[in-house]
């Protein structure tokens, strides 16, 4: 369980986050989303007791980050953004250091280190020097050290940044396997990743939380128009003009000049696709494509982070 109330952090005079409040229940997987420099890492660093907040309060598993710092650190696994590792140690040696720092007793040491090594697919690299590993494997070592001593809260700062697609899929699969009764908070600026992994998304921009909801709710709430893609053959312009006169249609735009592809924006309350199909038959046009576009999390994100402060509705 993670709770934050009015977290504020200043670096000198520069405010990194302002009045950030949220609550994450036990066992939830939550994505922390925001553009670069939005304050994601700052918030995570406060939660992991790396640094204290300038004001506000944060509790992890019911413990205060300032007063019970050591006890919290005992319970969390943290993967920092830059994946700092002791590059001159071997993977196994480094993990043994991390395990003993986290209070794993000597008796359980070998079993525990071997467990995370196999969980992260590092068996073949356990004897290699960390500095000689590729970026993807270093990320796995970073994840492995976070998993030591079975933490009840896992905080991952940009776990897939800078990896090739193969490794990204592997790491995501790993994170998915880690769900269960663990609380997982992961930050990212890659939206499909968050949509795929998380039950809930917290969107942060310029140090303030702008939205908190599940990916599907965010999509439906912010979808102000339904977009339909239409491709026809035959007398296309005439056809397009006819569509504009249909009820519920707000805008018809050609995808690019010289093509017969259009994007039609309509009121979400009515579905005009049957009417378009009927009209195509009537006008003797060939219907090549007709489908609605789902507003992706990407669009929502852009809407939220570019929204006017007056709140006059989203720009698209």
């Amino acid at each position: 369980m993670i709770e934050a109330e009015g977290l504020t952090k200043f670096y000198g005079h520069i405010g990194a986050i302002r009045n950030v409040s949220f609550k994450i229940d036990k066992g939830e997987v939550v994505g922390f989303l925001g553009p670069n420099g939005a304050g994601k890492s700052t918030t995570l660093r406060i939660l992991t007791c790396y640094m204290p907040p300038s004001s506000g309060m944060a509790r992890v598993e019911g413990l205060d980050v300032i007063e019970n710092s050591l006890q919290i650190r005992q319970k969390i696994g943290y993967l920092p953004e830059s994946v700092p590792l002791y590059k001159d140690l071997t993977v196994r040696r480094f993990l043994r250091f991390a395990a003993s720092s986290k209070g794993v007793e000597a008796k359980r040491m070998n079993a525990e280190v071997s467990r995370v090594i196999s969980a992260c697919g590092l068996e073949k690299n356990a004897g290699r020097i960390v500095g000689n590993l590729s970026k993807g494997f270093r990320q796995r070592v970073g994840l492995a050290q976070a998993l030591l001593n079975d933490p009840s809260v896992l905080i991952l700062d940009e776990p897939t940044i800078g990896l090739d697609p193969g490794h990204i899929i592997e790491i995501r699969r790993l994170i998915q396997e880690l769900r269960g009764d663990r609380t997982i908070l992961l930050s990212s600026h890659i939206l499909p990743e968050v949509a795929q992994l998380c039950q809930r998304v917290i969107i942060i921009n310029k140090g303030e939380i702008v939205a908190t909801d599940s990916p599907t709710n965010l999509t439906s709430q912010l979808q102000k128009t339904v977009k339909i893609v239409l491709e026809v053959s035959g007398p296309t312009h005439e056809f397009a003009q006819a569509i504009e006169n249909l009820t519920g249609v707000e805008k018809v735009s050609q995808v690019s000049n010289g093509t017969s592809k259009f994007v039609i924006e309509t009121d979400p309350s009515t579905d005009i696709r049957p009417e378009i199909a009927a009209m195509a038959v009537q006008k003797g046009c060939g219907l090549l494509e007709l489908r609605t576009i789902q507003l992706s999390l990407e669009d929502i994100f852009m809407q939220l982070v570019t929204e006017e402060p007056s709140g006059e509705g989203a720009k698209s």
Partner: protein
């Protein structure tokens, strides 16, 4: 002191994995070997002359002469290697970002600091101890001055610990290891020679300068005079700089 052993072991591993340690160790042992040879031959020559003119050297113990010169030279070599042992302690952790791991593991800042410092002290103790067999061999052949050897080596070790404590603090001031080593060199050289300035300033200031000079407190110990004031000085000196290091840690945390 939760977390002392893991950090201590990690630091030793890193030290033994690092080429800097081997270069420093090799140089230290080579230079101390050269000094040993050099000083021993000089003392042997002096003892020949004393043997020819017994009235000159009734009060001079050849063993004391040898050991004092040798330990003074060793102390200068230690002054040069101490910054190289401590320069990476915090500078590297900050540069590579691993301090973030150290700060978020359930390890207190004090335990991490003591672990790091103890690892450096261990390395220094190993290097200093490696010069002992030669000295013991001379003592067995010439004069069994065990108290003198004990006092001199204790002094050298305490002096070295003070150097390391100052170096540990200096390594928190910058992310650059070389700058950290240079700061340590500078500070140690000033503290080494500062006592010499006493004739040029007022008597009160002069005695203060002499007191804070790290070399002055080594004089007695190198002669076999174990004075608790000198031992206390080195102890307080080390604790003071370790305390400053701990303050730096809190400062990092607040600044982020």
């Amino acid at each position: 002191m939760k977390g002392f052993w893991p950090v201590f072991r990690k630091e030793l591993y890193q030290m033994f994995m690092s080429p800097i340690f081997y270069a420093v160790g090799f140089t230290f042992l080579l230079v101390s070997g050269v000094f040993f040879n050099f000083i021993l031959s000089q003392v042997v020559m002096v003892s020949y002359q004393v043997a020819q003119h017994p009235e000159l050297g009734k009060e001079i113990s050849m063993m004391e002469l040898f050991l004092r010169s040798f330990l003074w030279n060793l102390s200068i070599v230690t002054l040069f290697i101490a910054p190289l042992l401590t320069m990476r302690l915090y500078a590297e952790e900050r540069k590579s970002g691993t301090i973030e791991l150290l700060f978020t593991y359930p390890v207190t800042d004090a335990a991490a600091l003591v672990g790091k410092f103890a690892a450096c002290v261990t390395i220094l103790a190993i290097l200093i101890a490696a010069t002992l067999p030669g000295v013991i061999a001379v003592a067995l052949v010439a004069e069994p001055a065990w108290k003198l050897i004990f006092s001199g080596y204790t002094g050298l070790f305490l002096l070295g610990c003070s150097f390391l404590a100052l170096g540990t603090f200096a390594s928190t001031l910058t992310r650059n290891q070389i700058i950290s080593a240079i700061i340590t060199f500078g500070a140690l050289l000033v503290l080494w020679f500062i006592g010499e300035a006493k004739t040029t300033v007022s008597p009160v200031l002069g005695s203060i300068l002499e007191y804070v000079s790290v070399s002055k407190h080594f004089e007695g110990l190198s002669k076999g005079l174990i004075d608790s004031r000198d031992i206390l000085f080195y102890f307080v000196f080390s604790v003071f700089f370790l305390f400053l290091t701990l303050r730096q840690m809190s400062s990092y945390r607040w600044r982020g």
